[in-house]
Symmetry: C2
Subunit: 254 residues, 2 copies
């Protein structure tokens, strides 16, 4: 993928706030080329305000009169549209479209077209595209805000580059080594002993208490430090509590 060869094209955006929000959405995802086709108001302080720290993207934005001018030098053009579009045309969701766009960006300029806030791209504009992109939405409300749609598409492009930077396993990169089975077994012995001592576990009628606790602690995937903390608690508990005499208690009850 070559992000420098991917441009976002807004066709006749009417709210300058959206243009600013688009600039921010792009920059947070590592894209910088914005082309505006006949924007209603631009530049505008609403755009500047919504762009926050992406004003460089706004300032570098190219303003053109026609879609032709926006995509003349492009090798691959993608048009965003609603799913119930009338044209039968190749269409993909943002995830799969991102792969196509990334691939094509290595071979030429790629344009991603977003239509007007109120009624999107025209059929004539959609027919200029190599591929259509539809964002899956709820049946109850299918109209995303313009900048939100841009954010999702840019996010998918960025995920292609950095999706694997974050751990796939939530515990990857954990700062302590996992507790060994040997130490975990010692912990269970210590736990059982302590629970018996404080009168919570009756050795003569243990029920399923230890299996339940094993299932709980085993799911945790404890690290050595956590295990040491738990053992420290058990040790302190044992020191502070008078051992329950289960034999006497049984006699008393009988």
């Amino acid at each position: 993928m070559n992000p420098d060869q991917i441009r976002i094209v807004l066709v006749e955006p009417s709210h300058p706030g959206n243009i600013g929000a688009v600039a921010r959405a792009m920059k947070t995802m590592g894209l910088g080329k914005l082309v505006l086709v006949a924007p209603e108001k631009f530049p505008d302080e609403q755009a500047t305000w919504r762009a926050v720290w992406a004003n460089d993207v706004l300032e570098a934005a190219e303003v053109v009169d026609s879609l032709d001018a926006a995509i003349a030098d492009c090798g691959f053009v993608v048009g965003t549209c609603a799913r119930d579009q009338r044209l039968p045309w190749p269409v993909l969701d943002p995830r799969r479209a991102a792969v196509e766009m990334a691939t094509n960006s290595k071979r030429g300029e790629v344009a991603i077209l977003f239509g007007r806030e109120d009624n999107g791209l025209s059929n004539e504009e959609l027919m200029r595209c190599n591929l259509h992109l539809a964002i899956p939405t709820s049946d109850a409300y299918s109209s995303l805000n313009l900048a939100m749609a841009v954010q999702i598409v840019c996010y998918e492009l960025h995920m292609l580059q950095t999706g694997d930077e974050l751990p796939q396993d939530p515990n990857e990169g954990w700062d302590e080594p996992l507790a060994t089975q040997e130490n975990i077994e010692r912990f269970y012995v210590h736990l059982e002993e302590t629970l018996s001592q404080i009168g919570f576990l009756n050795p003569a009628a243990p029920r399923k208490l230890m299996p339940r606790l094993r299932r709980l602690y085993n799911r945790l995937g404890m690290d050595e430090m956590e295990l040491n903390i738990l053992r420290g608690i058990l040790t302190e508990t044992q020191k502070r509590s008078e051992p329950v005499d289960w034999d006497r208690q049984r006699e008393g009850k009988a």
Copy 2:
């Protein structure tokens, strides 16, 4: 996944416009439960304006005083944060976190916490979470707008449910059957004949013209109607053009 058991929790949002944009982002992705912890201004006409057709989500939003009240009945709590968070804690990107949230939503209430516009969730709030969620961003600008972050997370949840509704192959659901190889070969014969007739292809020195045209048309995956159109063009071309006499031309050149 049970979307009715997933709530979006905004902790101390300061801009009512963002609350409205969040409501719209949620509804377009099929979510409806919004909880606001001590919002600065709510209800507010900015929120109403930005929600557009998601005012039902705003009207049903629950306003509470504390994070405790927002998540008391939840079984699984996810906190969004920047990647350079100080806490070592289980963390996933939105795609992988969505799987965890969807799974847990079948077993209990799930809360997804989004922090303040200016400085996110506090460490204390993050420590209330089972899982952290970080959206991969550009190093140059890592701060997404609040509603944009909500949009991405809700989009990933929605993609889990409907990601496969759109064709995986961009040409799936095409309205015409693919042209058969038999018909495509007839087309190539017709094409070669026509190109020869109009003087574009010299049968004695064809170079790589036909292989190049084959590569081009084969990539298209033409349907029968398209093939018929092309053959119609060839037929008309043949009718209208005087055949080039390649033998005579060769003599003339020699």
